[in-house]
Amino acid sequence: MIKYMWAAYIVTWLVHLGYLGFLTSKASKIRKEAEELRRN
Amino acid sequence: MSFLYTPDSVAAGTTPAVSLFEITKHFGRFAALRGVNADFAPGKLYVILGENGAGKSTLLRIIAGLMEPTRGEVRVLGTKKLREVAMRVGYMAHAPLLYDELDAMENLRYFAGLYGIKDDAMCATALLRVGLDPSLKRRVGQYSQGMRQRASLARAILHDPELLLLDEPFSNVDVTSAKDMASLLGAMRDQGKTIFVVTHQAPVMQPVCDECIVIAGGRLTTREKGIPRHLLSPYAAEARR
């Protein structure tokens, strides 16, 4: 029974971490582009 | 920009037909217009020239109320509320804005209804003015491009608008039709209408043009009386690069 509980907790944080990862990659892409714009 | 021809005709106290204040339009990462400022006196025929993608059509669509500027303010016939003056404005584009499956009279009758006109005679008059036969039963889809644009012009003028906006009305149109339409526009200007024509074919409009406006890079770069000679060649736009 307890493995269902762990599964739920792990799934929750996997989804959250996935979204945070998406945000981070988006942020770095934006930062890179901002820098490129400034350089030119 | 001092080299611009300053319009003497918008005298103090008169309302410009169209006035643009800091018009900017962005499409995502692409900007079509930035900070366009201009006043246009009524009763004149303006020819707008410029390269492809310079922002001419965008400007015309904004004046017609089809598109909202990202920033800035448009006044047409003295008001910011463009819907309220829709009755007094006519618009025509390079696409014919007509239904292919209907004949010219059926098309015009429908569009007349949109302006609250129930009188068939007005539709017939408009068709006669552009040189088409109102009794022609052929569907618009089977018209030549010249005839189709004539019909389209008839649609744009059937409610007798004070302000007429034409976006590339002569693209792929035969020379005779283009010249006929140009002289009709001249005649309408003489009756006091304000007319804007976006075009690549400057020579066609030269005999009737009052002021010439050149748009480049989203800005109004030239404004002169008549069309300057270096812009008259059909390849002028390309040659200037």
């Binding site: 307890i2 269902y4 509980m5 739920a8 959250h16 934006i30 714009l37 | 962005h26 499409f27």
Partner: protein
């Protein structure tokens, strides 16, 4: 701004750890369901956060339609995205709970199914945004959000009635029946922690959206300068 965000992030992290400790260690094991019941400490706050996000999205959308404010639109996008994230978690943890307790993964339970429909609507919302040109996307998306907002009561009502006319599994033990005070406390802390976390992520997403828009604008300006 940056400092505030960091501070907020640290507080959230603390809250989340404490809430996790409360949920796993302090709260007693439920009598009938056992440890599986602890899923609720994550499931219910996620549902609450998803609904809050969608509500914020609806309000921001109406605000956008009324005032055409870019801020409103940026808030609407952020809320919709974060809402979908939380909603996904609800839909994943729901069946994980149902399987050991009811013996089945899915049942057309009114709450779970309404959440699914809401999730579908907001996925459609995000797809619509992606496939619209940048000028139209905010308007089209905002109108869809208004439709979604009015749809919610119909969804809930129709599924409830549908359910009563549909065979249902025997549910062992109501969800909120006789909540132990320690359980209630653990539950409360998780609610607070996830609310903080959700708002934090939404704030981050909102800032990214603003940054992205200012870059688009800069691109547009630059392209024009080169063209002139």
């Amino acid at each position: 701004m940056k400092l505030k965000l960091t501070f907020f992030a640290l507080v959230t992290l603390g809250l989340l750890s404490y809430a996790l400790y409360m949920a796993l260690v302090v709260a007693p094991t439920e009598a009938t369901m056992g440890d599986v019941q602890r899923i609720f400490y994550y499931h219910v706050p996620s549902a609450w956060m998803a609904f809050l996000c969608f509500f914020i999205n609806a309000i921001a959308s109406i605000w956008y339609l009324a005032k055409r404010s870019q801020t409103a639109d940026a808030i609407a996008v952020s809320a919709a995205e974060v809402g979908v994230v939380f909603c996904t978690i609800v839909l994943l943890t729901g069946p994980i709970w149902a399987r050991p307790v009811w013996g089945i993964w899915w049942t057309w339970d009114a709450r779970l199914t309404s959440t699914l429909v809401l999730w579908l609507i907001y996925i459609a919302y995000l797809i619509l945004r992606r496939f619209s040109t940048s000028g139209r996307a905010p308007v089209l998306a905002a109108t869809l959000a208004v439709f979604g907002f009015f749809d919610v009561p119909f969804v809930y009502l129709s599924i409830r009635i549908f359910r009563t006319q549909h065979p249902q599994p025997v549910i062992a033990g109501g969800e909120g029946s006789g909540l132990d005070p320690t359980m209630a406390k653990a539950f409360l802390w998780n609610m607070i922690a996830f609310t903080f976390y959700g708002l934090l992520v939404m704030w981050m997403r909102y800032r990214l959206e603003l940054a992205e828009r200012s870059i688009e604008e800069a691109h547009a300006e630059k392209a024009l300068q080169e063209g002139a």
